[in-house]
């Protein structure tokens, strides 16, 4: 009887954790891979590992979720030895069916900017890209990002600063100023 209750509680805790940061983990993985199916697989594996952590009696949080996701991502990249699929982010966006549709008169301009930004982001080293995605897109606190990326607090700010400078330079070269 006790075992069923414990399993049920673990299931509820995992559901609560997914509700808290599942979308963010999926977004992070999608932005890093540019592949909706890979993002889905990695997201599922991330939460299965979090479930094992819960079963072991620990109480994982948002930082550990992103840390596991990022570690899985890096392992996946090492296996595949390429980031080529990221360079065309269209499949991930199209597969999700969740992208905002721009007004027709702005579609071309936004499409160009979007493509330029995607290329600039893809051109960043993974460490800088992770830092900017977690701070800028997910809005995580620097302390959480430091734990997720296993880096000192000050390094979060310096990586983000470096990432923004490189993105701007890349956008400027492609004729976009942001």
């Amino acid at each position: 009887m006790h075992r069923e209750t414990t399993a049920s509680e673990q299931q509820a805790a995992l559901a609560a954790l997914y509700d808290r940061c599942g979308a963010g983990v999926y977004r992070f993985l999608s932005a890093q891979t540019g592949d909706a199916e890979r993002a889905r697989e990695l997201c599922q594996e991330t939460f299965l590992r979090l479930g094992r952590t819960l079963a072991a009696g620990d109480a994982p949080g948002e930082a550990l979720a992103f840390r596991i996701a990022r570690n899985l991502l890096v392992s996946d990249w090492r296996r595949r030895r390429t980031e080529a699929r990221w360079r065309d982010p269209a499949p991930a966006v199209a597969a999700s069916g969740a992208s905002r549709e721009p007004a027709p008169d702005r579609a071309s301009e936004q499409g160009e900017l979007r493509q330029a930004l995607a290329s600039a982001l893809a051109g960043l080293p993974e460490a800088l890209r992770s830092a900017i995605l977690l701070t800028e897109v997910e809005g995580l606190a620097y302390r959480t990002v430091a734990t997720a990326l296993d880096i000192p607090l000050g390094t979060v700010a310096s990586r983000k600063h470096e990432a923004i400078a490189r993105l701007r330079e890349s956008l400027r070269r492609s004729g976009h100023a942001l």
Binding site: R3, A7, Q10, Q11, L14, A15, Y18, D19, G22, A23, Y26, R27, F28, S30, A31, A36, R40, C43, Q44, F47, L48, G51, R52, A55, P89, A92, V93, S96, A98, S99, R100, L113, R114, L117, A118, L121, I132, L133, T135, E136, V137, G139, A141, Y142, A157, K160, H161, I164, L167, R168, A177, L178
Partner: protein, 159 residues
Amino acid sequence: MRCEEFASSLEAWLDGELGAEAAAAAAAHAASCPVCAEAVGARHRLRDALRELAELTPPADLRAGILAAAAAEAAVARRRWRPLAVAGLAAAALLLAAFGLRGLLSGREARAQHGCLVIAYLDGAYEEPGAIGVGELTLAAGPGALPAPRQPEPEGGKR
């Protein structure tokens, strides 16, 4: 606050990482300096573009799929451990039974041996009760529980 100072703290300010006093100073400077206000606007545009680029909603069935997979994995883990737990309990029970039986047997053996010695004491074979632990039996059974050892009969006294 000077423009250089504002520029160096802009990221931390936008990310809410500045203390209340420094954040208020940054906000006041941005409100009074058109150049820095434009820098803030540019940062907001870049942030919006990045968020729009990465804006994705997870597939609707991802949550249910994860929870189902986690439940299945937990059930497999429980099934995997159950036979081991049963085997462990059985082994522990066997060990307890074996040691318990041995203890019981050795206790009975000791009591039997002790009984023989007491009989020997009562027959007069031992004069000192302490030498065979008879005193312990006396204490357990109460004072005077053991009679005095039988005195040897004089030779030729009984036919």
